[in-house]
Amino acid sequence: MMGIVDKIKEIDGTKVTVQRENRIFVDVEKERVIGTLYSMKLIGFSQLSVLSVIDRIADNQFEIFYVLYNRDEKVNATVRVWIDRDNPVIETAEKIYPSAHAWEREIAEMFGVKVEGNEEAGKPFILENWNDLPPMRKDFDSIKYSSEHFVFRHSEDKNE
């Protein structure tokens, strides 16, 4: 069991936290993230489960996390990287994990993260004709947007 943690620790610039026996968190710098992911794949983390973003608005940062799964050791590892919220740029991981392509399209749309190297990131994916802030950011107020764009039905409303 500890073998896999050691292997991850050997990768340059990683900070490993073991939460449970099969939940590992790996923190890396923005510059090293692709290299880390590549090394992770080499040591058996062959499946990308989730790739998404946490909007750490208090620190003015985006936390991007990659949940990886090692099929042989049955271990989930989460690679986390913090990037600047004002200039959110990340390199694509689609060369390493093909399934990252669609996740990256999603974070590009929902958080406004620029994904370098992914041609389709930034094109409309789930939303259509969206011209407001990326909706998943913490500073986007969903209720305000709704009340501006849609009319709520109140009990006194008559069906016209």
Partner: protein, 170 residues
Amino acid sequence: MEKMTQDQVRTIANMLRKRSLWMIHYCTGCGAMELPPTMTSRYDMSRLGLAPFVTSRQADILLITGYLNVKTLRRVITVYEQMLDPKYVIGFGSCALNGGVYWDSYAVIKQLDRYIPADLYIAGCMPRPEAIITAFQDLMDLIDSGKADGYKRYKRDLAYYKENQRKVLG
């Protein structure tokens, strides 16, 4: 005299229409999950003359099965406008009625009948097959009495509907 025959024709036509309602095969939301049981062997809505049909040209009823987000709304309007008169809309579930649990969502519209005229709503999330069948029977009564006139309202208040649609769809 001529008016009378026209009325008679309309009465007969309504009588036929209510007995043969074809429903468009378009699952706009999660409410569509209760349609297969309604359609198939256990509840068998074909007893009432209802049948699922594929394209917008063939169908009479448009079921808005649950929430309707903005992207789907555009398609729903396209489909609705392609359907041939007389056509009926059933708002299905509380989301179509007032947004339901998605009341604060930026993507889901809150009132269906601001965009296309709904003849009937079914409450509940999600409505049970029994409720759906009751709703169809209510719609039949409405058709029989000539009150299911959503398509006429849409033509009459086209400006109103188009204005609302433009506001949401941009």
